[in-house]
């Protein structure tokens, strides 16, 4: 990083984290809030754009990396998690963030989610959950509530939606949080905790699609919010308590729902490398001797 050390590195303002590219999102879309919150978090945590990379899949939400000033990769639909894992494992010094939509993460890409949780690689996954397929113009999503009308469920959905929080807690994710695109301050706090968490952190952001679900979502969600940080009884290290939160119907709890300290993938990998090192105690060229019968 010689070039970077020479460069002057003045503290950045939150707005310095915008790439300058104009978002294609509809006016009022929840994703604007997420973008703004991320800029503030980056500024607060003083993440260097050169040392930070945002990965995403495909969807309205997955356009995010283009609007942030850092390294970024807008990849393909549903594959953001393995791509982010590869990058973090190749360079553990990088700040890695993955982002995407509910369709991206819980329909086409859901197969990667449990494995990402159990591997506990140190990065943050932000799902902008709008209960709909935005980019493809309003089809049913795996998180669309039962009976929801969409362009592909014209008589109301007859399927049970996926509960991303339940899934994450069930799959042994070590940091599980929920926040709301209408509350920037809360998003910033939760995202900061998630990024600072050592291990995999999953954050569900309720981020309304004003075009295909409706802007009244902001109000509906806001009226049901229950802030866990205001609840002195709530203990995020209690898994049973976390499971009670996922079953709530009368209110929507936001904040850190579950949190657990555990060695991350890289810690375990380092131990494994130490154990394997005895096999690599010679020049790679000399390893050829193992093929001598």
């Amino acid at each position: 990083m010689e070039a970077m050390q020479q460069a002057v590195t003045p503290p950045l303002k939150a707005t310095d984290y915008k790439s300058g590219l104009k978002p294609v999102w509809c006016p009022g879309c929840g994703d604007f809030g997420v973008l703004n919150a991320m800029c503030q978090v980056f500024q607060q945590l003083e993440l260097r754009p050169e040392e930070t990379i945002i990965f995403s899949g495909i969807g309205c939400s997955s356009r995010l990396p283009g609007y942030l000033k850092s390294y970024g990769f807008n990849s393909v639909h549903g594959r953001v998690l393995p791509i982010a894992i590869g990058a973090k494992l190749a360079n553990p010094e990088l700040n890695v963030i993955a982002a995407g939509g509910d369709g991206d993460g819980f329909s086409i890409g859901i197969g990667h989610f449990p494995h990402t949780c159990r591997r506990n690689v140190d990065f943050t996954y932000i799902v902008m959950d709008n209960n709909i397929y935005g980019l493809t113009k309003g089809q049913l999503s795996p998180t669309s509530p039962a009976e929801m009308n969409t362009t592909t469920s014209n008589f109301g959905s007859i399927e049970t939606p996926i509960n991303p929080i339940a899934l994450a807690v069930g799959c042994e994710a070590t940091f599980v949080a929920r926040t709301f695109a209408g509350d920037i301050k809360h998003m910033v706090n939760v995202m900061a905790l998630g990024i600072q968490h050592k291990g995999f952190s999953f954050i569900q952001v309720l981020s309304p699609c004003v075009t295909f679900v409706g802007k009244e979502q902001f109000v509906i969600i806001k009226n049901k919010l229950h802030y866990l940080q205001d609840d002195p009884e709530y203990d995020p290290s209690d898994r049973a308590a976390a499971f009670r939160v996922v079953d709530e119907t009368d209110r929507i709890s936001v904040g850190v729902i579950y949190h657990k300290h555990k060695p991350d993938y890289h810690d375990n990998l380092e131990i494994l490398r130490q154990a394997a090192a005895v096999k690599g105690d010679r020049k790679i060229e000399d390893l050829v001797e193992i093929f001598r019968p």
Partner: protein, 583 residues
């Protein structure tokens, strides 16, 4: 056989120790400096089912598996039935089996020529007497085979010791005694078949033993690969198994993923972050990787994907070789997505091919598919120590000396290659995308930008065809009969060419290894002066022939010989086809 070589076949059930016996022979041959090749074959049962192996040993060249056998060692005739057509004897061939003068004649379901001689040994009795267990039957048989056909005794003993080195001294002793009892029994009861004595040149340099999968894995490590993600699949799993030991030993990462999509996904993420990264798979996994391969193509991310081909489509024949993933490798996926396809032609060839794969992918920022096959992947070969000094990591070109604002990740350049910054290492931030983009990486849906970007990405191929062309040539330049083939078909074709030339029919062959982009100048130069051309491949739908046609005009009257895989070409089969076209 004329003394130059010995072709052995072994067949039995799980507990018979067929593979241990086979591997002992290969190890001994390699230590003696002999050329040797072993091909394994298994029945459908996961463990304990029928298994067989074919071994070819020679002081001279060995390039193909044996067509037919000099010696068949049958531990169990029932098991033979499954492999019959793979284990045919030569007219002079002999059989070694369990039994003695008292025991009734077993039913021998032998296909093809019947054995000239049958050597019966009380394998089980001798094993019990010497090693105290019938499990040592294979060692008794090894002793017998070694004595009968002149295998190198000292090295055989060494191999056996090494094979059981993780066991107690008592077990090693027992196995050696069993081996000796087989030898002694032969000495006391039979005279050696004079025509079937392996002639061994003295003082040959000791050789190594490895499979194509071993070679691919090791060569990747040498080429600087430090990230491997993969999902188990026959016949390529051993690459990841090998790397699971040696990748972390050298500070790298080997991770077993939830599926092949995740495998290539992780590889792309790791590569974007600066690591030399690869995955290995077979047909079904390759199909799953297709979408991400296109991503590597448009986002210009270096990566190496080894596909050890098996019989297809779908699950097909997992354990057997075929060359039917060629079109998928070159053209698989949606959109115009350039990639490079290279094929090793034998086990040793995996070294230069893997070196080339990493070199091309890093230099040109393009996905490279290494099309191995089950034959190369699984075949155990004795080889001369490869020249490892030639396998050096190649470092990709990174931006430097320009203002950060001026950096264009996808800049149009004369070669199509643009500087690739590494996150966390370079200040030149950029955004990559699977969405079509301009030079800066910003999304676009304009025709003009798309056309220019396609042109940029395809422009690389022109340079690769020259930079990384390697071809193998066999036979005299002036021959008027030519053959084009690829991959492991090189073995039988090369041997057929050599035999025909000694028989007075001049034939030459070319084996292109960079199959896409093909160096068409070199191909045309080879065609010059030919009167007959034959394209040879293991694919029912003529994939290689069709691929050649997409890249150049073949001479009028070009003939084709191809068939399904699951059985490698016999040398005699190729000779027959060449004679047919050469009149």
């Amino acid at each position: 056989m004329e003394g130059d070589e010995l072709n052995l076949g072994l067949v039995g059930s799980g507990g018979d120790g067929v593979m241990i016996a086979g591997e002992s022979i290969v190890s001994a041959a390699a230590r003696e400096g002999l050329k040797c090749l072993m091909l394994k074959s298994f029945g459908p049962q996961i463990r304990g089912g029928e298994s067989s192996c074919k071994i070819r040993i020679s002081s001279k060249k060995v390039s193909a598996a044996p067509d037919t056998l000099d010696v068949l060692l049958a531990f169990n005739w029932n098991d033979y039935k499954r492999f019959g057509s793979e284990l045919e004897l030569k007219p002079e061939g002999v059989v070694v089996e369990e039994g003695d003068s008292e025991s009734p004649e077993p039913e021998r379901p032998i296909i093809g020529p019947q054995p000239a001689t049958i050597y019966k040994l009380p394998l089980t009795r001798l094993a019990k007497e010497t090693a105290g267990t019938p499990l040592a039957r294979n060692m008794v048989a090894l002793g017998a085979v070694s004595e009968l056909f002149g295998l190198p005794d000292k090295e055989m003993k060494h191999s056996i010791k090494k094979m059981f080195s993780h066991k107690s001294a008592q077990i090693i002793e027992g196995n050696l005694k069993a081996y000796q009892s087989g030898k002694d029994y032969v000495l006391a009861n039979f005279s050696k078949p004079e025509k079937l004595q392996l002639r061994i040149e003295k003082n040959l340099e000791k050789r190594l033993v490895m499979t194509g999968n071993d070679a691919c894995a090791y060569a990747a490590l040498l080429a600087g690969c430090r990230f491997f993600a993969g999902y188990p699949i026959t016949p390529s799993s051993e690459i990841m198994e090998w790397l699971s030991v040696y990748m972390p030993a050298y500070g790298g990462t080997m991770i077993q993923t939830e599926d092949e999509i995740a495998a290539l996904g992780m590889v792309l993420g790791a590569s974007l972050a600066g690591a030399k990264a690869m995955t290995a798979t077979s047909g079904p996994g390759m199909s799953l990787m297709t979408e991400l391969l296109g991503l590597a193509s448009i986002a210009e991310i270096p990566c190496v994907v080894v596909n050890a081909q098996r019989g297809g489509p779908s699950t097909g024949i997992p354990t057997k070789s075929e060359q039917s993933d060629l079109m998928q490798a070159v053209f698989g996926g949606h959109g115009d997505s350039p990639r490079v396809v290279i094929a090793p032609a034998d086990v040793g060839d995996c070294f230069p091919v893997m070196r080339e794969a990493f070199f091309i992918s890093e230099k040109y920022q393009i996905p490279v598919i290494v099309l191995s096959d089950a034959f190369i992947a699984q075949c155990k070969a004795s080889l001369h120590k490869p020249d490892l000094s030639k396998i050096r990591p190649w470092e990709r070109a990174r931006p430097h000396g320009i203002p950060v604002e001026d950096y264009k990740r996808f800049e149009y350049t004369p070669t199509g290659v643009s500087w690739m910054a590494i996150p966390g290492k370079d200040p030149y931030i950029y955004r990559a995308a699977g969405i079509e983009h301009d030079e800066k990486g910003n999304p676009t849906s304009e025709f003009a930008e798309h056309e220019k970007m396609n042109e940029k990405r395809y422009r690389k191929l022109k340079f690769i065809a020259e930079d990384a062309c390697f071809m193998r040539y066999y036979g005299p330049k002036e021959a008027k009969v030519g053959i084009v083939t690829w991959g492991s078909c090189k073995g039988p074709v090369r041997e057929a060419v050599e035999i025909l030339n000694t028989q007075g029919l001049p034939v030459r062959a070319i084996v292109p290894q960079v199959l896409f982009p093909l160096n068409t100048d070199k191909m045309r130069a080879f065609f010059a002066g030919l009167e007959h051309l034959l394209v040879v491949e293991l694919s029912y739908s003529k994939q290689f022939l069709n691929l050649l046609k997409t890249q150049l005009d073949l001479p009028a009257g070009t003939a084709h010989y191809g068939r399904s895989g699951a059985k490698p070409f016999a040398v005699s089969e190729i000779i027959e086809q060449i004679r047919k076209i050469a009149g």
